[in-house]
């Protein structure tokens, strides 16, 4: 009974990267030298292998994203497993976990098995699937979690919405003792959020856009931390956006609750003041971009570990949907191809966090929240790595996207740091 990460069969990588900085924070490695990958495995004899000049490049354990949307089934026009996994590869990701809020939601064995089969055919990097907590994500009847766990579900989530009924969620937590799957939770009090489209604050007051109060998220997290404590269960909090929420997570951790949390690149970099132009394609997401103080608190919490990891919440949408008026467009921005470069540009290069820590938060720490395998550069490990040019600059969208959708929050921005190669599951999945 373990999570299945599925990748299409392919040629095992055999390559040697010469003279690169080899940085594996978890293994405590930071040296300049060669890294050998032979037959898809790290280490071994470099003789006869293709050589790559790694001067000025950094080889790191590949990134893991516990929170993406691959829009399959139902909206393959905006993303599918092939395009989404390639998008991940282009961003240095070596494993991603797809949320179940598809059309229809992934809520039974048949749905899961079909996706795993598709991924065996289409996924260029290992892909795992999260299944719904409740049937149809309707918030009432539990899914057959024990069976889903046996078939290889990564976790359970009703992402896109919370399990609003506390009694239902409590039963789900109790049932975790049987099924064993971690919960990854979209936390929101839907009554408080109402029809909101952006963070409630001075900017929403000026723009007249209905606000989503920060406490809408924090209250839901507070409830679930208490329930997890009461039931001795384990929860992961998706896309933390508000400083009040950080306090709830911190309180949970100090109480000994098994609670972890993630934050997205866009919440770490952008704020509500960036919404002035009311451009839904780049600025409308749920949870919304919060205030300046929230962003500062998120960065601090990611540094101090209250927030465990980065997740992109990669949410592709068709152009025609995102061209709607701000209040009527769907929530969500893409993130896989830009995540590292955005955080390298805005956090590492500005001195807010060292590269080693960013790599930790995007790789091993991100894998651990959903019990996914932790990428490592240790000899004998299956090669799951990213090669980064930390000084390369590029403009987001200038050469299109590997994703089928272009609703990036950073469209047109010049970023520093580029993934030049990704080896995932022992296969070369991306190479510039």
């Amino acid at each position: 009974m373990s999570a299945r990460l599925v990748q299409r069969p392919g040629q095992a990588a055999s390559i040697v990267i010469r003279g690169a900085r080899i940085l594996d924070p978890i293994a405590g490695v930071d040296r300049v030298g060669d890294l050998v990958v032979r037959d898809g495995v790290v280490g071994g004899d470099a003789a006869g292998l293709e050589e790559v000049d790694g001067t000025g490049l950094v080889v790191v354990p590949g990134f893991v994203d516990p929170h993406v949307h691959l829009r399959t089934p139902g909206r393959e026009d905006t993303e599918d497993i092939a395009s989404g996994s390639l998008s991940g590869a282009a961003g240095g990701f070596v494993a991603i976990a797809a949320m179940p809020n598809t059309q229809p939601p992934v809520d039974d064995a048949q749905d899961l098995v079909r996706l795993l089969e598709l991924a065996e055919h289409d996924a260029v990097i290992p892909v795992g699937f999260i299944c719904a907590i409740t049937k149809g994500q309707n918030g009432s009847q539990l899914t057959e979690a024990a069976e889903l766990a046996e078939l290889g579900a990564v976790a359970l989530s009703d992402d896109g919405r919370p399990v609003s009924d506390a009694a239902v969620f409590r039963r789900a937590l109790q049932y975790q003792r049987l099924a064993g799957l971690p919960f990854t939770l979209h936390e929101e009090d839907m009554h408080l959020s109402g029809g909101g489209a952006m963070h409630e604050g001075a900017v929403s007051a000026r723009l007249g856009v209905e606000g989503i109060p920060a406490v809408s998220e924090a209250i839901a997290v507070g409830r679930d931390v208490l329930l997890a404590h009461y039931e001795g269960a384990r929860i992961h909090v998706c896309h933390v956006s508000a400083k009040e929420t950080i306090e709830e997570v911190r309180r949970g951790k100090s109480m000994g609750v098994r609670v972890t949390a993630e934050v997205t690149p866009h919440h770490l970099v952008l704020i509500d003041e960036d919404c002035e132009d009311l451009d839904a394609a780049t600025r409308k997401m749920n949870p919304p971009l919060r205030g300046r103080e929230d962003r500062e608190a998120l960065i601090a919490a990611l540094v101090d570990g209250t927030i465990d990891c980065v997740a992109t919440d990669h949410a592709p949408h068709g152009a025609s949907e995102k061209e709607l008026p701000f209040e009527e467009a769907p929530f969500g921005v893409t993130g896989l191809e830009t995540a590292f470069a955005v955080l390298n540009t805005h956090l590492v290069r500005t001195g807010r966090m060292p590269l080693e820590l960013l790599v930790r938060r995007m790789s091993g720490d991100a894998a651990r929240v959903l019990d996914m395998p932790e990428p490592t550069l240790a000899d004998g490990a299956v090669a799951n790595l990213a090669v980064i040019d930390p000084e390369a600059t590029w403009r987001v969208g200038a050469d299109g996207f590997r994703s089928k959708s272009g609703n990036s929050a950073f469209l047109g921005e010049e970023l520093t740091g580029r993934v030049t190669m990704t080896i995932a599951g022992g296969q070369i999945a991306w190479r510039t």
């Binding site: 007051a205 000026r206 009311l278 949907e321 061209e323 709607l324 008026p325 701000f326 209040e327 467009a329």
Partner: protein, 317 residues
């Protein structure tokens, strides 16, 4: 993307630009006192009014403003709900843009709709109200009305009373008044006051109706039931009217009263006050047309061409 100057948010206008438009409106008001109320200023120009949300006075005054300046004016009505209607907005704009209009006047129920529309047309776009966001020409006509009534805007104190939360009139008005050096306060039940309005709009706020005493102008806002969803913002209209309804009993002599209409008589304003000729309510409606004439003229005129001579020609029959 509109290549012409547009008017989507009042904050895009500087104090000088606002003054220029108000001055221009004065000149057009002279035209309205003539026997023949039509000038050839926009002959050969096309104005399309797209009203996706109900309107009486705004739609009428934009139409009349265009016609009084000899433009060809076309009115497109839309009705709407949710997602597909937004697509309709884009497609409608693209379609109408093929006729090469000079001005698109857009009203829509969603904040951000007019900014979205402006991405698909070459025409100058005028925001005639988008959701709770903005209504810049209303703000301009309110400034015009106030400047005429008091002779000044700088230092004037205007209190907006009531449903600020759902009011684009209050939002655009507060920004415009602040730009002109006026003081603005919101006096409102706590449930109808936007959070952080002070920081966001530079206004002072209060839930005590007695705080209108300091104001030179009391601006009663319509209770916008249609934007309240399931409601519950106030316990009852009766309690609201008792606590916040504006009538003669709350006003001191010389205090001016405004309302953007349509009025809920007996709710935010008493019947007697609504009919009091000293209230500026009808003046606001009259101001609407000349201000909208001024805005259309201004947007279609290059800055170098706005000489006194050119303006004199514009208002000549």
């Amino acid at each position: 993307m509109s290549s012409r100057r547009s008017l989507i948010a009042i904050g895009d206008l500087s104090r000088d630009e606002i003054t220029r438009m108000l001055d221009l409106a004065e000149r057009f008001s002279e035209v309205m006192r003539r026997d023949i109320k039509k000038v050839p200023t926009l002959r050969g120009r096309t104005v399309i009014n797209m009203f996706f949300e109900a309107s009486t006075r705004t739609a009428t005054s934009f139409e009349l403003a265009g016609k009084r300046m000899s433009a060809d004016v076309i009115n497109v009505k839309g009705s709407g709900s949710s997602v597909e209607k937004g697509e309709t907005l884009k497609d409608t704009v693209l379609t109408l843009n093929a006729y090469q209009p000079d001005i698109l006047v857009v009203r829509h129920r969603a904040a951000g709709a007019v900014a979205a529309a402006a991405r698909y047309t070459q025409a100058a776009v005028i925001n005639a109200g988008d959701g709770k966001h903005e209504h810049p020409t209303q703000a301009l006509l309110d400034l015009y009305t106030l400047r005429r009534a008091t002779g000044r805007l700088d230092g004037l104190h205007v209190a907006f009373v009531g449903d600020v939360l759902h009011s684009r009139v209050a939002r655009s008005g507060a920004i415009a008044l602040a730009t002109m050096g006026a003081k603005v306060s919101f006096v409102s039940p706590p449930t109808l006051l936007p959070r952080e309005a002070e920081a966001g709009l530079g206004v002072s706020t209060s839930s005590d109706i007695r705080d209108i005493a300091d104001a030179d102008v009391v601006y009663a806002l319509r209770m916008q039931h249609e934007r309240m969803g399931n409601g519950g913002f106030v316990p009852s209209l009766r309690e609201y009217a008792t606590r916040y309804g504006i009538g003669h009993h709350r006003l001191r002599p010389g205090q001016l009263v405004m309302h953007a209409g349509p009025m809920n008589r007996g709710v935010e304003i008493t019947d007697e006050l609504a009919d009091d000729p000293t209230a500026l309510i009808t003046t606001q409606v009259e101001s609407g047309m000349v201000v909208r004439m001024a805005v259309m003229y201004d947007l279609l005129t290059e800055s170098g061409a706005r000489t006194p001579e050119a303006v004199a020609e514009a208002v000549a029959a």
